[in-house]
Amino acid sequence: MTTVIDKNALIQEVLDAYPDKAKKIRAKHLNVTEADASDCGVKSNKKSVPGVMTTRGCAYAGAKGVVWGPVKDMIHLSHGPVGCGYYSWSGRRNYYIGTTGIDTFGTMQFTSDFQERDIVFGGDKKLDKLIDELEVLFPLSQGITIESECPVGLIGDDIEAVSKKKAKETGKPVIPVRCEGFRGVSQSLGHHIANDTVRDWVMPKADEYRKLPDGFEPGPYDVNIIGDYNIGGDAWPSRRLLEAIGLRVICQFSGDGTFNEVVMTPLAKLNLIHCYRSMNYICRFMEEKYGIGWLEYNFFGPTQIAYSLRKIAAQFDETIQANAEKVIAEHEARMQAITAKYRPRLEGKEVMMMVGGLRPRHVIPAFTDLGMKVIGTGYEFGHGDDYKRTAEYVAEGTIIYDDVSGFEFEELAKKLKPDLIAAGIKEKYVFQKMALPFRQMHSWDYSGPYHGYEGFEVFARDMDLAINNPTWDLITAPWNS
């Protein structure tokens, strides 16, 4: 299975199992990269095919679970019935420092637990009362976001009016996030909606809400980390690197972030964005409104870390550039020792990936640093601009699958026989039953961090322990071999 033609034939074979209409739709989402392509040649950000196992979530998941949820000192209310909040409770490993239930609320579930009467009579009164109760029980919270679930939008509640009223009464931000699950085709619209609430409900009052640190003066090296959710602590090694080259990180939005940091963002000189998909919107807004530039970076694996550090440093003066070189040089020996240890165990191993956000492209160079090869990749909820950005990372002959269905992914894996699959929890055990080594790349399989130099060490170890797990040799009973 080496040529582009072979792989295109394989895609056709997989598609043949669908009814005609679904086949026609899905055909547009699968492709094989050709040499020098500037795009991956797939359609994206379209409705999933009904009845087919998609890995996608919904707008609520994108807004509450991703963008707002990790802002640690606010209360994020799942507004509607109990389920959505329950299932998204503590699921994403957004690490934070704080006293939960007192000044931070990251691993708690707050819900209005709609009952039938709330559907019939509307939930606005309940919401109003509930915010008073929150104020009594959690006086140190720095604000509230209201993530609306499907029924709230369908019954026509006016959560914006309630929010305005309660913000006035409590003197704290109360932010309505219209992220009902039926909006859009995936969690992606939820990211966008959440970004828009920052634009509309937070930024206009940023000066009023902001608490400046003692003696704070805006400086030439002030930057924000945008779109790092601190899964397994990712944002911390990233922050450490940026500070090591002499920048001052004044905000993490949103992993381990606070509301105050969010309102600090307009004071920075540059937005450094890791997950482009989920937070490019607010970066674009800040560029337009405040003239703050933004830059994407990739802190997976030493090659990209060095590249990104230089790219970031190039935005600043020679001191920063010299610092960047120094930091890169300081880590070189250690990185060589890591690759020297792990590369012989991983050389030539082939990987198929399917995740969300930025990972389907950003992780590829980290695999390459270990001598591994990504032969298939795709996004759960990517857009055209993600696939454009992916083109520079993938080699000719890489299979690209957008919103891949469980069926397609399984069939492709059966034929391509990769040495490792890197996707999410819903896929993990399917492939492990096929005796295919697997790592969860949403949650780092409860490991991490994977960002930064320390993160690469953990990444290298984890890929080794997945692929070279001796239990794979136990699957076939000796009497059957």
């Binding site: 199992a17 209409k21 095919v49 009904p50 009845g51 087919v52 196992m53 998609t54 919904c58 998941a61 000192d73 509607g80 389920g83 329950y86 299932y87 409770w89 690490y95 000044d103 579930q109 707050f110 209005s112 009952q115 039938e116 559907i119 309940k126 509930l130 109760e133 140190l140 499907c150 699950g181 039926f182 090296y221 397994g232 602590g233 922050r239 450490r240 500070e243 001052r248 004044i250 993490q252 606070t258 105050n260 300081e330 880590h331 250690r334 240890k341 469980g406 069926f407 929890i425 819903k426 993990k428 055990y429 039953k433 096929m434 005796a435 490991s447 320390e454 060490e457 953990v458 699957i475």
Partner: protein, 522 residues
């Protein structure tokens, strides 16, 4: 405070074996300094203020305010209907669970079940979006059923609704019929369906609603003249695959012919053979269809299956029995009834097991006698556990059931009132785990029993936690053990007693201070 503008020299060794991950990396000085430095931008409250409020949340004053809330729910111990619906459906042969509504829900259900069992869980949805919100979900359902049928070749599709479909009022019965009339799926494909909005009941309600629909669909026209000589058994929303296997072993020892209504023991614990099998539900459609002709039906979760039981009693004219084969007495009652109903003697092997279980309890009971316990979970789950605790001489103190109902509370209250160890117990129906936090601070207990979410209460109140229930995300393989029968009693007892002993060790570990009681033999 870190001098932030100078490059930091990395704390690194060249030994590639020394890799620090999140468990230790962030405890290092470098990261502790980083956290301290970051704090200036956080706009945080002073440590004194945080401490003051933290102490206040432990008081009776806070408890009163906490219990006064009417609109807000915090950390509830309940999920929503479709989860139970998908769960029960997955125990039937070749059955694809299908959720009609927005796709986000099914992603959550699959994730939640997968995290508990560490097994694949396959289910699909109609992927409804704004257009369906306006025009209804008929087109989504037609296409969805056709695609699901052609792609996954199920023998049955068990369809439940989500909030969205319920609020817009989709007539799923009619939609399924239309799909069949248009020959998008075969007319004889069983497609049981259930209305399961998240704003009514909880996951146990969804379990009941789907079970009744599956049984109705599969047994239609199958009523025979005479009984098939079998008995039906249903375990309810029981997360322990070990329980179904243990029940089957017990029935095998008796020599009773049986049908398990929803046997998902392989769905949630299938062998790794190097090949992925999509469907592992063990109750065949034929068996389920013939369940209408059984001698009677046994249910182990009374409050999870009220409608199903009513249906079976009324429509099938079948006897239904409720038993809780948990702990010694619960198992005794079940076995005696089973023996009386079937006319078969209680097998010697089970009698010996009983003796061994009682022996184990007697050997260790002293360590649990008089211990004050907080527990929470589904009504039936809590019921079995409470009875078991009472027969060990433990004293349940706070019993929290978010998805409670008055009938359950009355029945449990009677059990507690009639038992010397149940005198101090209070039942907190419709309350959540944030209420429980207040209860545990104001009236402390020795032990907490519940699912993984209890670890936050363990951290805050320092009360040792025994993980029993659903979901359990942070401990592995517990679902493989039975908790029912005499074997199950030993397993639960083992978890409880050894947690108490662990705690004793932890409390007697400081050299020259507390370790006078750091005994080798306990």
């Amino acid at each position: 405070m870190t001098n932030n503008t100078n490059p930091q020299v990395p704390e690194q060794t060249t030994d590639p074996g020394k890799i620090q991950d999140h468990f230790d990396l962030f405890h290092t000085d470098t990261y502790q300094d980083l956290f301290e430095y970051k704090r200036q931008f956080e706009g945080a409250h002073s440590p004194e203020k945080i401490q003051e409020i933290a102490e206040w949340t432990k008081t009776w004053d806070y408890r009163e305010k906490n219990f006064a809330r009417e609109a807000l729910t915090i950390n509830p111990a309940k999920a929503c209907q479709p989860l139970g619906s998908l769960f029960v459906a997955s125990g039937f042969e070749g059955t694809l669970p299908y959720s009609h509504g927005s796709q986000g829900c099914v992603a959550y259900f699959r994730t939640h079940l997968t995290r508990n069992y560490k097994e694949p869980f396959q289910a699909v949805s109609s992927s409804m979006t704004e257009d369906a919100a306006v025009f209804g979900g008929l087109n989504n359902l037609k296409q969805g059923l056709q695609n699901a049928y052609e792609l996954y070749k199920p023998k049955m599709i068990a369809l439940c609704t989500t909030c969205m479909a319920e609020v817009i009022g989709d007539d799923i019965g009619a939609f399924i019929q239309t799909t069949k009339n248009e020959e998008l799926i075969p007319a004889d494909l069983p497609v049981p369906s259930a209305h399961t909005p998240s704003f009514v009941g909880s996951h146990i309600t969804g379990y009941d609603n789907m079970l009744i629909s599956i049984l109705k669909t599969l047994t239609e026209g199958k009523k025979a003249e005479s009984s098939n000589g079998k008995f039906n058994f249903n375990l309810g929303f029981d997360p322990y695959v070990g329980n179904i296997r243990e029940l089957k072993r017990i029935l095998g020892l008796f020599g009773i012919d049986y049908t398990i209504l929803s046997d998902n023991s392989d769905t949630f614990d299938s062998p790794n053979t190097g090949e992925f099998k999509m469907y592992n539900g063990l109750t065949t459609l034929e068996e389920a269809g013939d369940s209408i002709n059984a001698e009677g039906s046994f249910f182990f979760q009374k409050y999870t299956t009220p409608k199903t039981q009513e249906y079976i009693a009324k429509e099938w004219g079948q006897k239904t029995y409720n038993f809780r084969p948990f702990g010694i007495k619960g198992t005794d009652e079940f076995l005696m009834a089973l023996s009386a109903i079937t006319g078969k003697a209680i097998p010697l092997e089970l009698q010996q097991e009983r003796g061994r279980a009682v022996d184990a309890l007697t050997d260790s009971q002293a360590w649990i006698h008089g211990k004050r316990i907080a527990l929470y979970g589904d009504p039936d789950h809590v019921f079995g556990l409470t009875q078991f605790l009472l027969e060990m001489g433990a004293e349940p103190l706070h019993i929290v059931v978010t998805n409670s109902n008055p009938e359950f509370e009355a029945e449990l209250r009677e059990v507690l009132t009639n038992n010397p160890y149940g005198q101090g117990a209070t039942i907190w129906g419709k309350k959540d785990l944030w209420h429980l936090r207040s209860l545990m601070f104001t009236e402390p207990v020795d032990l907490l029993i519940g699912n993984s979410y209890g670890k936050y209460l363990w951290r805050d109140t320092k009360t040792p936690l025994v993980r029993i229930g659903y979901p359990i995300f942070d401990r592995h393989h517990l679902h493989r053990y039975p908790t029912l029968g005499y074997q199950g009693a030993i397993n639960q007892f083992n978890w409880i007693i050894n947690t108490i002993l662990e705690e004793l060790d932890r409390n007697t570990i400081i050299p020259a201070k507390t370790d006078i009681s750091f005994d080798l033999i306990r």
